[in-house]
């Protein structure tokens, strides 16, 4: 150990050292969020198996659903899908990935809580918002990669958007926006339940039925009317339909729906979820220590 005991500590202030920060400005808050976000992303980069597992699961869905159900379903699809279940499925899986992936936000926060990392952050003169902003921000980047990889595999198997690249890109961004909104929901959930085991069920229990009772995998037209009433109006369906409209053309929407209207609704859902859950998450974060 090289600690030279004769000399005064380099770390210690003599008398009153001026603090490095006065007040925390909004710019500081952005800087802090970037620092935390970078830290969270480093974990993904250093443990690439995390990213691999996150991608393998949707790719498995992609392959299984395409080859197992594809043949049976293709006849029931609107012509905009160009007779390919794969074309129909990829936009849906973008939302499925967002929904299941959002659990990672909760897990990441719970892990930091358990390891005392959140305590350390809370004892630092950093912006209170940064831990959550850095977490959801990093998860957005992770989702961008996972969804991108999934689409790439889809393209290798034969997925083709039927509209234009800008429209496809708009759909991709809309999916990311929705994933981000769900991250805030799961951040709240994680901060409320606070153990990894509880997070597993708190994420899986609501997300699983939400994904299936939607247009993510299949058109809702053949569902019983009570289920359909729910499925048609829940956000996963609204956003999935928008993605299909953007990537496959207006004809991919259920009869009577207009693309612009669906996209607007999707935007409202995303904004609404963020406006409700971001403050809830921040409040839960503030209370987490008491």
């Amino acid at each position: 150990m090289t600690a030279a005991t004769g000399t005064p500590a380099t770390g210690a202030p003599s008398g009153a050292a001026a603090p490095l920060r006065g007040r925390i400005t909004p710019l500081d808050a952005v800087r802090d969020a970037v620092v935390i976000g970078r830290r969270n992303l480093l974990r993904v980069v250093r443990l690439p198996q995390l990213l691999l597992f996150a991608t393998v699961q949707p790719v498995m869905f992609l392959i299984l659903f395409t080859y197992v159900f594809g043949g049976a379903i293709e006849g029931a699809l609107p012509p905009a899908a160009a007779g390919e279940y794969l074309n129909w499925l990829v936009p849906g899986l973008m939302i499925q990935v967002s929904a299941f992936g959002s659990g990672q936000t909760a897990l990441g926060l719970v892990e930091d809580l358990e390891k005392g990392v959140v305590d350390r952050f809370r004892s630092l003169p950093m912006a209170r918002s940064a831990v959550l902003a850095g977490r959801t921000g990093a998860d957005l980047a992770r989702n961008a990669v996972v969804i991108g990889l999934m689409v790439l595999v889809g393209a290798l198997l034969g997925f083709r958007y039927q509209t234009s690249f800008p429209r496809f890109l708009a759909g991709y961004l809309l999916a990311l926006g929705f994933a981000h909104a769900l991250s805030w929901v799961m951040a709240t959930v994680g901060l409320l339940v606070r153990t990894p085991e509880a997070v597993q069920s708190a994420v899986f229990l609501p997300v699983f039925p939400l994904v299936f009772a939607s247009s993510v995998f299949l058109p809702t037209a053949t569902m019983p009317s009570w289920l359909r009433a729910f499925a048609d109006h829940q956000p996963l369906t609204v956003v999935t339909n928008s993605l299909r409209g953007l990537m496959l053309g207006e004809g991919a929407l259920p009869p009577g729906q207009v693309l612009a209207d669906q996209v607007l609704r999707s935007g409202l859902w995303i904004a609404g979820i963020v406006l409700v859950f971001a403050p809830l998450a921040i409040r839960a974060y503030r209370r987490v220590a008491t």
């Binding site: 150990m1 600690a3 380099t10 770390g11 202030p13 480093l42 990392v117 809370r122 003169p125």
Partner: protein, 337 residues
């Protein structure tokens, strides 16, 4: 005395039905190591969490470096460093990345954050390991890294919750040296510990905390003196014991106690060496030659055990020094003179 750098007044905190802090008040003078000593569940961590802005107490007033911690936690955070009971470092980052990140969150930027991280890592003997992932670090290295990270913002007051729990004796001594070094540089260190030896060696002042209350406060010597005086222990042959007890009563002004084995006679030695000389002279005048005579200074263990809870519930510690000290005070029975 100058103004205390940490001032705690009547702090109360409950977790549900558990009263973790029950009206704690203390003053920590600047520039010293202040030890919080207490058994498991005494409330040490809770108090550290209150002081380091992690926990808002139900009642009371807390000031650190002139800042009201409850009213203005952000200003307090700029002046403190915290190393919690468990090292809060990221295993998948390198040591350097960990320290740099904390530096940035204190407001250091770019080159300044890098330079400061390098400086602190070197100082903590982690220069060579700085670019390895923390996952490859030993427990002692992690602990040092945790301390390094809490120091990177040049805090005026450092809070260390059990800084040497779970590390080997060598690493423990390293941490002690680092703490002493910090204090030489002007930082105030408030640490909790369950190791009496650590408090004795490191802390300039000690507060003993038990079930949420400060039960005693002072220097280690003051605490020892408060609960136990120096004890004179005399071993005499069986045949002389009754007579020796009588003589010792005359010298000490109080009947001697004997340990359970019945071989030693003990009296408080209020005048230390003078008591010993007087006792030996009295015995020798009566023609009794003691087999052994010794003075035992009370240890911090004696103070700790006397101050915290029912002594019968405390298991004896395995060191001979401790047992002897305790026997002097406790496991004794009166011997009829």
């Amino acid at each position: 005395m100058t103004d205390p750098i940490v001032r705690v007044r009547d702090v109360v905190h409950d977790f549900g039905r558990t009263r973790a802090l029950d009206g704690v008040s203390l003053d920590v003078p600047g520039g010293i190591v202040y030890g919080l000593l207490g058994p498991n569940g005494a409330g040490k961590t809770t108090l550290i969490r209150v002081l380091s802005t992690l926990l808002r107490p139900a009642a009371g007033h807390v000031e650190v470096a002139g800042v009201d911690v409850i009213a203005d936690p952000t200003a307090a955070r700029m002046r403190i460093g915290l190393a919690g009971q468990f090292a809060a470092v990221d295993a998948y980052l390198t040591g350097r990345e960990n320290v740099e990140m904390v530096g940035r969150l204190y407001g250091l930027r770019g080159a300044a954050a890098r330079a400061r991280a390098a400086e602190v890592l070197d100082r903590f003997g982690l220069g060579d390991a700085a670019d390895r992932r923390v996952a490859t670090y030993s427990g002692g290295m992690r602990r040092r890294l945790d301390l390094a990270a809490s120091l990177v913002g040049r805090p005026q007051v450092m809070f260390l919750d059990e800084p040497t729990t779970g590390i080997d004796p060598r690493s423990r001594m390293d941490v002690w040296e680092l703490v002493e070094d910090l204090v030489r540089g002007g930082t105030t260190v408030l640490l909790t510990t369950q190791y009496l030896e650590e408090a004795d060696r490191l802390a300039d002042r000690i507060a003993v905390i038990d079930v949420g209350r400060i039960v005693s406060e002072g220097t280690a010597d003051e605490l020892k003196a408060r609960v136990a005086s120096t004890v004179l222990e005399v071993h005499v042959p069986e045949a002389d014991r009754a007579r020796a007890a009588e003589l010792l009563t005359g010298v000490a002004g109080e009947a001697p106690a004997t340990d359970t084995a019945g071989t030693a006679l003990r009296v408080p030695a209020r005048d230390g060496g003078a008591t010993l000389v007087a006792a030996v002279r009295a015995l020798s005048d009566a023609g009794i030659t003691p087999d052994d005579v010794a003075l035992h200074r009370p240890t911090l263990d004696d103070a700790f055990l006397a101050l915290t809870g029912d002594p019968a519930t405390h298991a004896p510690t395995p060191t001979g020094r401790t047992r002897r000290g305790r026997r002097g005070r406790r496991a004794t029975e009166e011997v009829a003179p």
